[in-house]
């Protein structure tokens, strides 16, 4: 079978394609109910803008999950960097936007490093560590911010404009998200360290026997995940203009949900960041569609839950079929 054929078949069979189709279907429905959902400048913009922050988070979570870990603290990390962004603008008047973005990313990475180190060196399960740091980071930002809140007026106009700035009708934040996605996808698919992430997630014991730098890779995963959460925090500040200490509560589960819906196996080793990103888009688009098709958006969470369950059940079914095929292949 030629590479071309194989490529085509994979694309058709892939989970990513399936989700894209679902997304298109959702958009179609929404648009048929309300033209402006797609065919108004505003609708088009929101369509692209709304998912961009979650995409960045989901890509981060995906990377961590692929190494058979999980990071529940990203929501809190987002809150910290989002608030930090505001504080920087207030406390250091005239600080360049670029500096703020970099600081946000670095702080996020630092928080991720703490998680990674605890998991890798402490030999403590990620679920527990990040559950702990989720409390700790959130507590930290709550203590720091107290009842203080960053208002749009506290941040320079040009920064806030980034939240809505468009290049050829494409919002800047969306472009940022896409760049992040492309970089992550290349790394995981086509570099040694990227593939080792999958290996470690697929069978940690074997990875150690094999002599892969497990510790280093796991820490890297958490650092990258944290850095992306940090970036998401800055994006959050730019997009919403107001930051309270409660920002990003529950986003960790949205991000993990997006990844799972996108076909990232919760116990690592398989799935792509593309899937995770599409999962994020699907979640957010459905959010915005529900009110339009007349379902009170209170039901959004229920839909998300149903999607996650559906996704993993589907995966199980496909996996079962796959291994049956392989069995038969061997029996002949």
């Amino acid at each position: 079978m030629s590479t071309a054929q194989r490529l085509i078949r994979n694309v058709l069979a892939s989970r990513e394609t399936a989700i894209v189709l679902v997304i298109l279907a959702v958009i179609a429905v929404a648009t048929s109910m309300n033209q402006s959902f797609l065919f108004s400048g505003q609708g088009w913009r929101d369509l692209l803008l709304t998912p961009s922050i979650l995409i960045v988070m989901a890509v981060g979570s995906a990377i961590v999950i692929i190494t058979r870990n999980v990071d529940l603290s990203v929501g809190s990390t987002l809150a910290i960097t989002a608030y930090l962004t505001g504080r920087l603008f207030i406390d250091i008047p005239g600080i360049p936007v670029v500096a703020v973005v970099l600081i946000g990313i670095l702080v996020g990475a630092g928080l991720g490093l703490i998680n990674g180190a605890l998991v890798a060196f402490g030999k403590v399960p990620a679920l527990v560590v990040t559950l702990g740091t989720m409390y700790i980071y959130r507590g930290a930002v709550l203590t720091w911010a107290g009842s203080d809140r960053i208002n749009a007026s506290d941040m320079p106009r040009e920064f806030l404009r980034l939240g809505t700035y468009q290049v050829a009708t494409i919002p800047l934040l969306t472009i940022v998200a896409v760049v992040v996605l492309l970089a992550a996808a290349y790394w995981l698919a086509s570099t040694r360290s990227g593939r080792e992430m999958y290996a470690i997630g697929s069978n940690p014991e074997a990875a150690t026997l094999y002599g892969l730098p497990t510790t280093k890779r796991v820490i890297t995963a958490f650092v990258v995940g944290g850095a992306l959460a940090g970036l998401a925090g800055v994006m959050y500040a730019a997009r919403y203009g107001t930051v309270s200490s409660g920002a990003g509560m529950g986003w960790e589960l949205q991000a993990i949900g997006a990844a799972v819906i996108g076909g990232i196996a919760i116990f690592g080793g398989s799935g792509t960041v593309w899937g995770a990103a599409f999962g994020a888009i699907l979640l957010m688009t459905i959010n915005r569609t529900l009110p339009i098709i007349g379902i009170p958006d209170f039901w959004q969470r229920a839909v998300v839950g149903a999607l996650i369950i559906g996704a993993i059940v589907l995966d199980r079914y496909l996996a079962a079929r796959q291994s049956r095929k392989l069995q038969e292949a061997r029996q002949r």
Partner: protein, 317 residues
């Protein structure tokens, strides 16, 4: 304080412990009102403390009410997240001698001593209706972006506004009421959804400071700027830039600082035994002068105040 009354209140207010319990922390409106409370307590020389839940839920508040009871505070000044859910806890606290003053959002009368009403519901409702009516020229579609769907005060206002519209503004259609839960991001997304669903909306009225700010911000940098009017209840600091960039013409609010200030003095009056909280009781409220307890133990602060480009710079809260 001023006047002999305030004076000797000060002397026996020395050792009063008063706790402020807002709907939730991180809400600038309550920061302002509680600042007023602190100022008052400063004046009569008690000790002020503020506690509160992160989300505006009744069960969150109960724990703090309990703690206040455990600590044997002299008075608790609270803005209720639910009219009845926190009643048992409040009454338990009153049983151990804590004076309970509600402000901004009331509970049922039988589980607090006094309610400090920021403005008569009628006053607030009509003020907002007038504002929106004149901003959209008396006709068109409007929607309301409220806080939590069971926030007592908000719902009451909305009813009255609906009535007012029915009665005096036949050409204005209230197309939708949505809830942002006093959460900025949610209010922001709700605004987006509103404009999405009702393509020819003319105005959004938000009777909550978080909501109006979020709505104004969304509109200010969307294509709807200038087309869709925003008004309601907001704080000058949050709304200043939108007044300046013209997104918002005018909005209303009482002075939350005075509200907290008055609540604190009321608590003081109860704790010192100066009043029982019965209808007709009168007490001294520092710089605000003398107030009288109305029916159901209500104390009315005054009428709402309208902020516009002309006067907004005189305020900083």
């Amino acid at each position: 304080g001023d006047g002999g009354n305030g004076g000797d209140a000060g002397s026996d207010g020395e050792d009063l412990n008063i706790t402020f319990l807002p709907k939730n922390l991180g809400n600038p409106y309550f920061d302002t009102s509680n600042a007023g409370g602190a100022e008052a307590i400063e004046e009569f020389g008690g000790s002020y403390s503020e506690v509160g839940p992160q989300e505006a839920t009744p069960d969150g508040q109960v724990q703090y009410i309990n703690t206040a009871a455990q600590q044997g505070e002299d008075a608790l000044v609270i803005s209720a997240n639910d009219p009845s859910a926190i009643c048992d806890a409040l009454n338990e606290a009153r049983d151990v001698g804590v004076a309970v003053v509600t402000f901004d959002s009331d509970t049922s009368p039988d589980c607090r001593d006094l309610f400090i009403n920021q403005a008569s519901a009628e006053g607030i409702a009509s003020a907002q209706v007038e504002l929106v009516a004149e901003q959209i020229g008396g006709e068109g579609q409007i929607a309301i972006l409220s806080a939590a769907a069971n926030a007592t005060n908000q719902n009451h206002w909305i009813e009255l506004m609906e009535a007012e519209l029915e009665a005096n503004y036949p050409d204005i259609e209230l197309v939708d009421v949505v809830y942002g839960d006093d959460d900025d991001q949610r209010s922001f997304d709700q605004t987006a959804a509103l404009l999405q669903t009702h393509s020819d909306l003319d105005a959004i009225v938000s009777p909550t400071t978080v909501g109006i700010a979020a709505a104004a911000r969304y509109i200010s940098d969307s294509n709807y700027a200038g087309e869709v009017a925003v008004t309601g209840l907001g704080t000058p600091n949050q709304m200043r830039e939108y007044i300046e960039d013209g997104t918002v013409e005018a909005f209303a609010l009482w002075n939350p600082e005075d509200l907290g200030y008055l609540a604190a003095w009321a608590a003081h009056a109860l704790a010192t035994g100066e009043i029982e909280g019965n209808e007709g009781d009168t007490f001294e409220a520092g710089r605000l002068g003398e107030y009288t307890v109305g029916e159901d133990g209500e104390v009315l602060l005054g009428d709402p105040f309208v902020f516009t480009a002309e006067n907004i710079d005189d305020f900083d809260f």
